[in-house]
Amino acid sequence: MLDFLVRRVIISIVTLVVISLIVFTGVRLIPGDPARVMAGTDADPAGLEEIRQKYGLNDPIVVQYLRWVGLAVRGDLGESIRTRESVVWTVARKLPITMELAGFAVLVALAIAIPAGVFSAVRRNTVWDLLVNAVSLCGISIPSFWLGIMLILLLAVRLHWLPASGFVPFWQHPLSNLERMVMPAFVLGAGLTAVLMRQTRNSMIEVMSADYIRTAYSKGLAGRVVLFRHAIRNGLIPVVTILGLQMGALMGGAVVTEQIFVVPGFGRLIVEAVFTRDYPLVQGVVLITASSYVLINLLVDVSYSLLNPRIRIRGATGEP
């Protein structure tokens, strides 16, 4: 178990180092002089030189990288060109909004996908199974931003049931906050729902055909007991992993969802940063997103190994 953890943590650290290299090189690949970008187009040569000195842009690239990583580890990702605010602070203000949205999206997804997936596995090859499969396929194929626009058209423009867009902080007005979160959470959760539904169905079908389930049935247990006490516990383990792997898609989806529903979160921040060519902000946001993805998946793997002893044993023998 300890071996597995150590191995997994080392791999995560290596991944984080490679991520930092990619992000650092990526920003250096942007055509043009970074000093000119920071100073604006009307800067004179002296001003440019001053900026180069200040940010150490004349140093060798390795020195620049190490300094950047050193600062990043201590939580300093530089400051936004546009607002002169620290990148970490800007992200810290936006992140809770996106986390609320993502949290609701996951809740929506779990609430729909797990019952539907289990039901479809139990009623395999019936009309219900077909229906769940069809819904899941549509969920994977539907572009979330179009779904968002159509929901606005129906629920806000036509029926006036929900506000079309905007954001109210939860502590200011909890009800308005929730009202404005319904559509974005559903839109962001739609793709996740579809993926989880499929995964739940497949893994439940596999578990239901296992020997121990047959044993449970043959010793006379009621179908309900077998399902809830024996099958679901094991059937949902792979779902946890998929949920972890889907976090990246969720973060990407937040970019579009926040854009459509004008939610001032992390995703909107990225798009704004790209459009205003605010490179330190883009760099910081991408670095934070990728790192948190690595950390989330480390946690998922650890929790998975706690849930599933087979992984622990395999990990200990050093197999991939």
Binding site: L137, F145, I149, V274
Partner: protein, 299 residues
């Protein structure tokens, strides 16, 4: 067999040889027919391909021509999908948009295959340090959420259709590296590969002639199911203003424009989105069918 006169011996002997590919095809076709949704999906994909190729003949109205007298008109016989905020014919723009979306989706995945498959082959075949380095890079690359990676790359490269395609392709590459590597790892241990190696085949020959043909079907299936993702990604980038630039007709940019006129011209939002949905759904249906067709064990 010749219709007139008795069959010659040569013809009789030749028949099984010539017949076998057609029976193979027929068997495949019969198996495909057992899955009507997959066939329907494939047909719709073909229809969209025809639209993409035949856009100049199908969309008669000029997709870029603005007409101030026709601003935001609801669907009519002359303009079946209505007109947009600049009086352009939405039907023409959706048809021309097919070309852009198909192009972006297919080329992005081709790029991902062209880069990912050779790298995956090398990683899986040689293992050791090369494999470790490649896999750590792949892990890191996969840690960037697909869309955020694409946005980052477009920031570096600048917004355009080509750059969006490249960004989506690079974003999808690690999937192919991983998939190829995994397939190579299992295929490498098969007897026929060991046999080829024992007969003195070099690494390149073993990879190219023995391993690749055996993993190809899995890669094709993966490509079919990842094209819809690439098409949606292109639409998203264009929607955000990071892909195709106006006035070019792309489904994403059309939806972006439509968003401002939801109350007055909702039809502007219907068609481009419906087109993306139909195309993505058909690719997914066709891909599912193809998977069953090529690998019955998997089902």
């Amino acid at each position: 067999m010749s219709p007139d006169g008795p069959a010659s011996a040569a013809e009789v002997f030749a028949e099984p040889v010539t017949a076998s590919p057609s029976t193979g095809l027929r068997r495949g076709w019969r198996r495909a027919l057992r899955r009507p949704p997959a066939v329907a999906g494939a047909v719709v994909v073909l229809v969209f391909s025809a639209l993409a190729i035949g856009a100049p003949w199908i969309a008669i109205a000029e997709p870029l021509k603005t007409d101030w007298s026709l601003i935001r008109k609801p669907p009519t016989w002359a303009h079946p999908f209505g007109t947009d905020d600049l009086g352009r014919d939405s039907f023409s723009r959706v048809v021309w948009g097919t070309r852009i979306s198909m192009q972006a989706g297919v080329f992005a995945i081709l790029l991902a295959i062209a880069i990912g498959v050779p790298i995956g082959l090398v990683a899986g075949y040689y293992r050791g340090a090369v494999d470790q380095v490649i896999m750590r890079l792949t892990d890191a690359w996969l840690s960037f959420p697909f869309l955020i990676l694409a946005i980052g790359l477009v920031t570096i490269l600048g917004p355009s259709l080509t750059n969006a395609t490249v960004a989506i392709g690079l974003g999808a590459t690690p999937t192919y590296i991983r998939l190829t590597r995994g397939l190579v790892l299992s295929t490498k241990e098969e007897d026929f590969v060991q046999g080829a190696r024992a007969l003195g085949a070099g690494d390149l020959r073993v990879m190219g002639r023995h391993i690749l043909p055996n993993i190809w079907s899995a890669l094709v299936v993966q490509a079919t199911v990842s094209i819809p993702g690439a098409i949606i990604a292109e639409a998203i980038l264009s929607f955000l203003g990071l892909g195709v630039q106006p006035p070019s007709p792309s489904w994403g940019t059309m939806l972006n424009a439509a968003q401002q006129f939801l109350e007055t011209a909702p039809w502007m939002a219907w068609w481009p989105g419906l087109a993306i949905f139909c195309l993505a759904l058909s690719f997914n249906l066709a891909g599912d069918g193809l998977r069953d067709l090529l690998d019955p064990r998997d089902y």
